[in-house]
Structure formats: structure tokens, C-alpha cells
């Protein structure tokens, strides 16, 4: 059965691009345009989200808050989370790691690198 990945980004281009790469490798993809919608989707879905890919700068609820919220939930304490962002500053990386991200990829990225990271984290 296909593993389900949640892609959270306010850029429709990034969502489409990442979804294309993941679906091409057989993953099932659920998308959200910000942290708030991501939490709503996770709460209402029957199937398990096995990995989350999230941007940081988003309206309503940003990536840091989304990760913190997920890490407080019993069901997602261990779910792998990849931050996908154009923020490359030292403070951002440090904060990303502190809130509980599993990995951090800087935009622009190669889809092969993202797919490799997804595969590694889902092992």
C-alpha cells in the first residue's frame, strides 16, 4: 500500500512540483497551503500521515508552529518531518532542529535529493 506524505507550502508551484516527484515514485500525497490547513487535514484524515514536508514562512500558522504542534501530539511525536525552505540562516536551521524537524532542505533543491531524504526517513 502506498505510503502517505503531507506536503505543506503556500506556494502552489512548490506543492505541485513536490507532489509530482513523490507521486512519480509511488507515494500518496496530501497537500495543505499553510500550517492551519495541515493540522485540519491531519485531524480529519483516516489514513496515517507517515511523513510531513513543510515550508517555514506561511500565513496563518508557520512551519515552526506546525512542527511544534505535531510534536506535542501523541500520534506524531515520531513522524519524520522535512523542512523545505529558502531560509538558510544559522538561526533558522537551529530553530528548525530545536522544534523537532528531522531534516532541513534549502530551496532551490534537486528533486533527487528530496526523494533520497524521503526514502531514508521512511526506512
Amino acid at each position: 500500500m502506498a505510503r502517505t506524505i503531507l506536503v505543506v507550502d503556500d506556494s502552489p508551484t512548490v506543492v505541485k512540483f513536490v507532489s509530482f516527484s513523490l507521486k512519480n515514485k509511488g507515494y500518496q500525497v496530501v497537500t495543505a497551503s499553510d500550517g492551519m490547513e495541515a493540522i485540519e487535514k491531519i485531524s480529519s484524515m483516516k489514513e496515517d500521515i507517515e511523513l510531513v514536508i513543510t515550508d517555514l514562512n506561511m500565513p496563518n500558522l508557520d512551519g515552526y508552529s506546525l512542527i511544534s504542534t505535531l510534536r506535542q501530539s501523541e500520534n506524531h511525536r515520531q513522524t519524520p518531518i522535512i523542512i523545505l525552505t529558502s531560509e538558510e540562516g544559522t538561526d533558522d536551521r537551529q530553530r528548525g532542529m530545536e522544534v523537532g524537524a528531522s531534516s532541513y532542505l534549502v530551496k532551490p533543491f534537486k528533486s533527487s535529493v528530496l526523494l533520497e531524504e524521503v526514502s531514508k526517513l521512511l526506512q
Binding site: S11, T13, N57, E88, R93, P108
Partner: protein, 200 residues
Amino acid sequence: MKIDDIMYSKMQSEIAALASSINEIVGKFKKLQHPLTESREKVPKATEQLDKISEQTAQATHQMLDTVEGITQREEQVKQRLNTLKEKITSGNLDGAEELIDSLIKTAEQTYEDVYTIMDTLQFQDITSQQINHAASLLEEVELRLHKIISVYNGQDSSMTEECTDSEKAKRVYDPHADFSDKKATQADIDNLFARKAES
């Protein structure tokens, strides 16, 4: 009261009124100084962002065109090889057919990789969109400062303008450092940081 005293008293009150006007004018100029300085700094930043967009859009477009050129050139070779293969099959002479098939498979794999290169390059849309939002936000701030200057001149309350523009600005979410350049070195640093975390 003497006439001189009356004159003196009148002059005194006129001078006091004049001093108060001068104070008010100085205060207004002081208020103008800050928005003017801020505006002077923000316009070049916005210009810099717009130049970056133009440069990086061109870079991404050239990269995609080069890749598409490579694909179309290979497609010509694919056609020729398929024709040769067809002739071999028709004539029943299959010498070299296997090599031809292998080369066609390699070409197909290369084209698949090229499609991903184009997809990767298309991320410039997201990056430039963030750069445009940053430039727009800087120009909005300049607009706000200019509104403030007009308000000060007209003796109006400038906080109203600020509140209004702040609510507009809140709609823009962007990374001011978004850049299309290669991030290999940065990514390696980040990977090391997360690897250390995983080990600890």
C-alpha cells in the same frame, strides 16, 4: 499702564507665539527626517531585489532552454536509430540491433533526467515570487513614509495611515533572503548539524 508697556506686552506675546510656531515647525521637520531616511534606504533595496529577479529569471530560462535543446537533439538521434532498427528487422539482419536498443534505453533515461532538471529549475517561480513580495513590501513601506510626511504637513494624525498599511503588509509572507543560487555548501552544513543531532 503706559503706552510703551502695552506695546512691550503685545510684542512679548507675539514673540512667544512666534517661538511656539518655530518649535512646531522644527518638530515637524524632525518627524519628517526619520521617514525620509527610511525611504532613502528602502528604495535601493527594492531595486536590488528587482535586479536579482531579472537576473535569476534569465538564468533559469537559459538553463531550461539548454536542457530542451539537448532533448530535441537527442530525439533526432532516436529517430535515426529507430529507422535503422526497423530496417534491420525488415531485412532480417539483426547485427548490432542489441547495441541500438541499449543506446535507445540510455537516451530515454537521459531524457527522463532532463525532465527532472527542468522541473527543478521551475522552482525559480517560487523564489522570484518571494523576491517580488519583498520588493513590493519595501515599496509599500516607502509609500507609508510618504503618507506620513503628507500627514505631518497637513497636521493630521499619522497613526491611522500606519495601521492601514500594516494590515495590507500582513498579507505578504516571504523570505527576504530567497535566492536561486546553488546551495550545496549551505546544505552540507545543515546536513552535518542534523546528523550531529541524530547521533546525540
